[in-house]
């Protein structure tokens, strides 16, 4: 009809992209939740979920139904607005970075020429959700978790930025499409191994995953900042965390592992997404394995590690990159 013809095609394209991305995020959370429980089970010498569906495939679906059906409990004397806003704040900033990530040569919602900067910014906004959730819960334990989360996030943003800057120096651009394009001959992980390792470690810390999961340290703070959330609120935090992991893994793939580059496929411009997902899920598999292997670091050791080790190493790496590029 008339209204459809006057809408710019770009807007329609963006709307479709956002819908696809949000549905993909929920699917991703389901898949990663299942993968995590199965991998955790096998690492711990047990099979993991086996009952629901063959080998437990439908476990996360059933969990989702359960979580949605729970009573949305709002504890006594909390700040009602903050308490209810926190899960939304956790879920929203993780959708946006996926709009700029190149899933394959032709599959990218929008290629901003400051795409990388945009992604890092959205990562920082993420921390606010933890702080708002912790404060709004009117609970000393949650507040503890929130304070730890803020200090941790601020400390680990700097190594992320510095290691990503090393790649940017080599490509002269912030646009993710061009960064992937620049890796046609050789992936940057071979040229910048130090930056890759620092980025993955700092990315783990940024997403509050073990061994850096102090904000939700179960044995000390009984679930930290999301102690008081039940049902959908908890599941939004949960989906936000998995999506954050996915973003960290995708940025690592795009910047270091060559994005969608891989052996040739028919319809390569679209099916490059297969290689992209293989690399992303390989990194996610590593992240999940690390969680079940290592104990938690102590909080001051965490901050020491960031400020005394990661930051100097990434600075030196940046310096060497700058010198080599200049030559």
């Amino acid at each position: 009809m008339d209204t459809i013809s006057i809408l710019p095609p770009e807007l329609i394209r963006m709307v479709i992209a956002v819908v696809i991305i949000i549905s993909f995020l929920f699917l991703n959370a389901i898949m990663m939740g299942y993968a995590e429980r199965k991998i955790a089970g096998h690492v711990q010498r047990r099979p993991g979920p086996m009952e629901v569906g063959s080998h437990g495939i439908l476990q996360m679906v059933v969990d989702g139904v359960k979580l949605v059906g729970k009573e949305l409990l709002i504890p006594f004397n909390v700040d009602r607005t903050l308490f209810r806003v926190a899960p939304l704040l956790s879920f929203t900033p993780v959708i946006l970075p996926l709009l700029v990530i190149p899933f394959s040569e032709k599959l990218q919602a929008r290629d901003l020429n400051l795409g990388l900067l945009f992604i890092v910014t959205m990562g920082s906004v993420n921390v606010m959700a933890l702080l708002v959730g912790g404060w709004g819960s009117n609970n000393k334990y949650s507040m503890f978790g929130a304070m730890r989360a803020v200090a941790q996030a601020i400390a680990y943003e700097i190594p992320i930025l510095l290691s990503l800057l090393a790649v940017v120096l080599m490509c002269n651009t912030f646009s993710l499409k061009e960064i992937v394009g620049a890796q046609q001959n050789i992936w940057f992980v071979f040229l910048q191994p130090v930056a890759f390792i620092i980025y993955v470690v700092a990315g783990l810390a940024e997403t509050n995953r073990a061994p850096f999961d102090l904000p939700e340290a179960e044995s000390e703070l009984t679930a930290g900042f999301h102690t008081e959330y039940s049902g959908m609120g908890f599941s939004l935090f949960f989906i936000g965390e998995y999506t954050n992991m996915f973003i960290v893994a995708s940025v690592a793939t795009v910047l270091f592992l060559g994005g969608w580059h891989g052996p040739h496929l028919p319809y390569g411009e679209y099916l490059g997404v297969v290689w992209f997902f293989l690399k992303v899920y390989f990194l996610l598999f590593l992240m999940i394995m690390v969680r079940w292997t290592y104990p938690r670091v102590r909080f001051d050791q965490l901050l020491n590690f960031a400020w005394k080790y990661l930051v100097p190493f990434s600075l030196v790496n940046l310096l060497i990159t700058a010198v080599v590029v200049k030559l």
Binding site: R45, K140, A210, P211, S219, R291, T293, P295, R296, R298
Partner: protein
């Protein structure tokens, strides 16, 4: 002056427990905190006081047997052992050799099970989710072995005055030997996953250093005392049962930090395996229970018996008055003294360190409260 006022406002009280994932029982610790630093931890006991001693003083001495297992359910057989040996010492009952050997084998198996559970729970406190399942897997074998002769998996009531309840058979011996072999092969797994894990070392080294003087002042016993360098083990220093016939060592730590207490317990598992092997090799034949009168009259006077439980020195004290009901029954539990050094040790430490120290003490709160 202004700074101290500012600091005053920064302090707050945090309740750790009584329901808490890492206080190993129903223990409340009131923490006065300043930021992440604990200024003054004060344990509050009594949440699970079940009046075991009163029960021991209200009923004939035979009825107290199940209570002994429920005081420390993780390592129940040494508790059984202490009580039956106390009554045997009081009533001058001679225990057959075979029964003594069976008691030693089962007690040492229970000690290994307790240490494996402690290892898993300690690492769970530190945030590692995997070692507890490995530990429970190994422990499951012990529980199956002990279930085949005692009938229970956790709260054993297997010893009787004058011996044990049921004889062990060849399947038990074969299963125990197979278990000894299997556990020795599993050491490398624990070593790689835990002992050499850099994060674990960072969380336990130089943390919670208990000096030998402090340990003696508070009456700490067991692996906590041995971690501080003092080689005191009731099995060697005040031998009971048939322990003098076995050849085993007492592992000792150096400076008394959490890592030392961890290493002492891990090495104790190996020493327990040695004792079990020697006992199985030399197991004599014979009766498993002496002839004991149905109603034991406790002569007036007092009596004491100490054993080495998994957590330290456990001793029973009895005052008889001529009837078969004790006039006074007192149980000295190791965890009570082990916990008592927390207010002094925990001054000015970080909260995660407090969790690490509590875990390394291997406390079982139900035995503290009895």
């Amino acid at each position: 002056m202004l700074e101290s006022e500012y600091q005053e406002h920064n302090r707050f009280f945090l309740n750790m427990g009584p329901q808490h994932p890492s206080t190993h029982g129903v223990l409340l610790i009131v923490l006065e905190m300043e930021g992440e630093y604990v200024l003054d931890p004060q344990p509050v006991l009594g949440f699970i006081h079940r009046m075991h001693e009163k029960m021991g003083e209200s009923r004939p001495c035979q009825s107290f047997m199940p209570n002994t297992a429920r005081m420390d359910y993780v390592c129940a057989l040494p508790y059984n052992h202490g009580y039956v040996s106390l009554i045997e010492r009081k009533a001058e009952i001679e225990v057959p050799k075979r029964a003594e050997y069976i008691r030693v084998i089962t007690s040492e198996l229970n000690r290994i099970a307790s240490h494996l559970l402690w290892l898993g729970a300690y690492l769970l406190d530190l945030g590692a989710f995997t070692p507890i399942l490995y530990g429970f897997d190994d422990r499951e074998h012990i529980l199956d072995i002990l279930e085949s002769i005692t009938g229970s998996r956790l709260t054993y009531c297997y010893y009787r005055f004058g011996g044990v309840y049921q004889d062990i058979d060849d399947t038990f011996i074969a299963a125990t030997r197979a278990f000894v072999k299997r556990l020795r092969k599993r050491y490398s797994i624990y070593e790689k996953l835990v002992t050499k894990n850099i994060i674990f070392i960072k969380r336990t080294e130089n943390i919670g250093i208990v000096s030998p003087d402090m340990a003696l002042r508070y009456g700490m016993t067991g692996p906590n005392l041995r971690g501080s360098g003092i080689a005191y083990d009731v099995r060697k220093n005040e031998p009971y049962s048939v322990y003098p016939e076995f050849d085993f060592e007492i592992p000792v730590g150096e400076q008394g930090d959490c890592l030392d207490r961890y290493m002492v317990r891990v090495k104790e598992i190996e020493q327990s395996l040695r004792i079990i092997e020697q006992a199985l090799d030399r197991l004599p034949d014979g009766p498993i229970r002496a002839k004991v009168p149905k109603n034991i009259k406790l002569t007036p006077g007092d009596c004491n018996f100490a054993v080495e439980a998994a957590r330290g020195e456990l001793s029973y004290y009895l005052v008889g008055d001529g009837t078969s009901t004790p006039y006074r029954l007192k149980v000295r539990v190791p965890s009570y003294s082990n916990l008592s050094c927390l207010p002094e040790l925990g001054r000015g430490i970080l909260l995660p360190d407090l969790v690490s120290i509590l875990g390394s003490f291997d406390l079982v709160i139900p035995e503290i409260d009895r």
